[in-house]
């Protein structure tokens, strides 16, 4: 019973934070709303017994990626950024129609999903590590290559123009 109540609270929080992300005026508030959405989603992960994913979500997503976002937003001229005018009403109507259509299509798919017998599998570091380092060793190593490429590209991009 408690799990149900917690689910509704966390889901409502995540959705409200999501609306805050897309509707908020100030860019700083948008990032902070997204931090809240990430934390609520981490709570949902805990309800789903995915403990490691929840911790990583808070630490890496809310803690590192969004702080990086916050740094960039604050580095830039916020006056100039908030002056960027929003989309017109036509774009908004189109966006609402697109979002709703996509959601309805997803509902149609979700209705066909069968729920198997609930098996409480705990996403603790031990079990996830076993899957990650047995089945997914090659993709895991490839992600290090991806990160290396990202780091290299950022070093190149951040360099002062030399021409």
């Amino acid at each position: 019973m408690l799990e149900n109540v917690l689910f509704y609270i966390l889901a409502l929080g995540a959705l409200i934070s999501g609306v805050g992300v897309v509707r908020s005026r100030s860019a700083v508030y948008c990032v902070l709303w997204l931090v809240m959405a990430m934390c609520f989603t981490a709570g949902l992960f805990i309800l789903l017994k995915a403990f490691l994913v929840a911790v990583i979500q808070v630490m890496v997503y809310a803690g590192a990626i969004l702080v990086l976002f916050l740094f960039i937003v604050m580095l830039m001229d916020t006056q100039q950024m908030n002056a960027v005018k929003g989309a017109g009403w036509f774009t908004k109507v189109v966006a609402v129609i697109a979002g709703t259509t996509f959601f309805i299509a997803l509902i149609a798919v979700i209705r066909t999903v069968r729920v198997p017998q609930m098996t409480a599998i705990h996403g603790v570091p031990e079990t996830i590590g076993k899957v990650l380092f047995n089945q997914f060793v090659l993709p895991f190593e490839l992600t290090s290559l991806l990160i290396l490429a990202a780091v290299t590209s950022i070093v190149v991009l951040a360099k002062k123009d030399s021409q």
Binding site: E3, N4, A11, A14, L15, G18, V19, V21, V22, A27, C30, L34, A37, T41, L44, F45, L47, L48, L52, V53, V60, Y61, A64, I65, F69, I72, L75, M76, Q80, M81, V84, K85, G86, A87, T91, K92, A95, A98, G99, F102, L106, I107, I110, R111, V115, P116, M118, T119, G123, I128, V131, T143, L146, I147, A149, A150, S153, I154, L157, A158
Partner: protein, 114 residues
């Protein structure tokens, strides 16, 4: 602890099951899509993409948990890694654009349009 009634039967829709998580995920995706289409600030478009990725992660974890298969949770890690790489490179590009063009509005960044 066994559930009294299965949510898939539709007999008691308030008992949380896989479908509830999927619907939340779908709603988050829809909200993110709305933001992606309405935002005119390139930074906030990136932020909406993060929301969409988050929605996808939620459905990954929900399926993984209800089907007793950890592959979904491992995939979430890969999504996070790719998102981190995407965000860092994207933000670097945004900073460079802001330095050169003095704007972050996608309406002003239309040199590729013809």
């Amino acid at each position: 602890m066994t559930p009294v009634c299965l949510p898939s039967m539709g007999s008691c829709p308030f008992v949380v099951g896989l479908h509830h998580y999927l619907v939340v995920s779908g709603l988050l995706f829809g909200i993110g899509l709305y933001g992606l289409l309405t935002r005119r600030n390139i930074l906030l478009i990136l932020l909406s993409i993060e929301l969409i990725l988050n929605a996808a992660n939620l459905s990954f974890v929900a399926f993984s948990s209800y089907w007793g298969n950890l592959t979904g949770q491992v995939l979430v890690f890969f999504t996070m890694i790719v998102a981190a790489a995407e965000v860092t490179v994207g933000l670097a590009i945004v900073v460079l654009l802001f330095r050169k063009k003095k704007t972050t509005s996608v309406d002003d960044l239309d040199t590729l349009k013809w």
